[in-house]
Symmetry: C2
Subunit: 140 residues, 2 copies
């Protein structure tokens, strides 16, 4: 069994530039009216973008920097009339490791800037990773 | 623009118990013959599992602890005849923040142990998060 007290360090590879600035008014999912947004990558990781093309569907992983990490159960979708549920059974941003997972479509790749459709993350949210959605896997 | 030198700290919420012990022989995707595996959660996060049921499809997020983080371009699927490609356009485990994203099916929930189908992560891989795959989103 591994050491349960280990820690790992994340370094953002970029950040979100979006007109969404307020958690209360942001859509809860990208399919619920998220505007177009830009991913602005650090210059040092630009080679990692090689091969991304408009039309590609990818997962963007973010660090939900405004989320409390000590919440283990929530009312799904902030609806107080819904019974409490474990955060691992919800997509609440409040969770021990607040990593956001966002399926988006790439619209444009311009140097270290990538324009996407369907991203509900707030302006300035740190970006951790981008992964293509594979044919044949859930998400294709 | 946010501070590009910020860092974030991840704390594992559990680990993988699997018969897969060797990166070279492990399947590259969970659909490519991954065995059943157990997720063993830390006792403190057990409330976060409330509501997970057999048959649920979830994403498991892991920390790919054996992966180098300074690789920005790879030959997809370790095939040297394929041109180099940016890691953000591949699912290579080698990437700046080596977070693994694994769609799996829950088979059994037993206290702090959850048995899953379709997980290609190696034995002892740290688990960071679990998220349900939502109806209507890619992955449903």
């Amino acid at each position: 069994m591994p050491d349960s007290h280990q820690e790992f360090t994340l370094t953002p590879v970029g950040h979100v530039s979006s007109t969404l600035t307020d958690r209360a008014s942001a859509p809860k999912q990208g399919t619920e009216g998220a505007p177009e947004a830009w991913l602005i990558f650090e210059p040092v990781v630009v080679p990692a973008l090689d091969g991304l093309r408009p039309g590609d569907r990818v997962f963007v992983l973010t660090w939900l920097h405004l989320s409390p990490r000590d919440v283990l159960r929530v009312h799904p979708r902030d609806d107080q009339s819904t019974p409490l549920r474990g955060v691992f059974a919800t997509r609440s941003p409040d969770r021990p490791n607040p990593i956001g997972l966002h399926p988006v479509e790439i619209l444009e790749v311009a140097g270290r800037r990538v324009r996407v459709r369907g991203l509900e993350a707030l302006d300035n949210t740190p970006v951790l990773d981008v992964k293509p959605i594979l044919p044949g896997e859930p998400g294709a």
